[in-house]
Amino acid sequence: MLEQLAKWARTRSPWVFHINASSCNGCDIELVASLTPRYDIERFGAVLVPSPRHADVLIVTGTVNAQTKEPLKRVYQQLPEPKHVIAIGACAATGGVFKGCYNVGQGIQDVIPVDMFIPGCPPRPEAIMYGVLKLLGEVE
């Protein structure tokens, strides 16, 4: 029964921590736009939390360049245990339009394990919310 309760609680309040691993901030403003009245991700209990300690879902945007590789790992370690990672945008998935640049990696999955990719450059706020909810569905 306890497991039931935990699952119910986890799917109802996914606290999100956003990290910008060298992104062009197109995806970031679409993620922040999903907080605004027109899309309002808070309907599903998602809240942008200030510190990685409080978060369950780590949302990463941007190609990971050499400088952000280590901080990204460090922040991933700081998230408490039942954690998920969502990579937003083409850059986070494969390096996007910057694939081949000398300072850019192959995307997020080389650095940290990723649960969910949201394609698009940048994905619309509805797509980001759909991705978060789909992740919760999987947790269910």
Binding site: Q67, K69, E70, G100, Y102, Q106, D110
Partner: protein, 160 residues
């Protein structure tokens, strides 16, 4: 107004024995060698009130590094170009135009030409901290991106 700008530039140019090349209507290039770069720029800033240094561009011209200082005046864009040998240093103009500090750091990062007199000369501006010191600066024609990525461990690690 723009006519007398060109005459003034021509007058300043021949005093500091540099060559004026007009590219097209809105752009003029003043070629000057390394030594009297600073006097030319001080004259430009004081006499013509060319206060806005837009940026400093580095060019890889085979053996030499071309450094272009772009000044934007109303309708004119004035470029000052000098040539510096590949590993040698260029005079810094931070004392004349303090705003040039970041641009010089960028050229130092990308092309490796040091600027004497720039307080933050040894600090990196754009390159990652984990940039190995023996790797050549990236924007030189000789450095290949794939090889840089390997040194920065950015290649896809085999799946554990």
């Amino acid at each position: 107004m723009s006519e007398n700008i060109l005459e003034q530039i021509a007058k300043i140019a021949n005093e500091t024995n540099s060559k004026v090349v007009t590219l097209r209507k809105g752009e003029t290039v003043v070629e000057v060698d390394k030594d009297n770069l600073r006097p030319l720029i001080t004259r430009l800033v004081q006499d013509l009130k060319l206060r806005l240094l837009t940026t400093i561009t580095g060019l890889d011209l085979g053996q030499e590094i071309g450094i272009m200082y772009h000044f934007s005046h109303e309708r004119e864009t004035i470029h000052v170009r000098t040539k510096v040998a590949k590993t040698s240093t260029a005079p810094s103009i931070v004392s004349i135009i303090p705003g040039a500090i970041l641009y010089e750091m960028e050229v130092h990062d990308m092309f490796g030409t040091g600027f004497e007199g720039n307080p933050w000369n040894d600090k990196k501006l754009l390159l990652p901290d984990s940039w190995p010191s023996d790797l050549p600066p990236p924007l030189l024609k000789s450095s290949k991106p794939a090889e840089i990525r390997k040194r920065l461990h950015l290649e896809a690690e085999p799946k554990q």
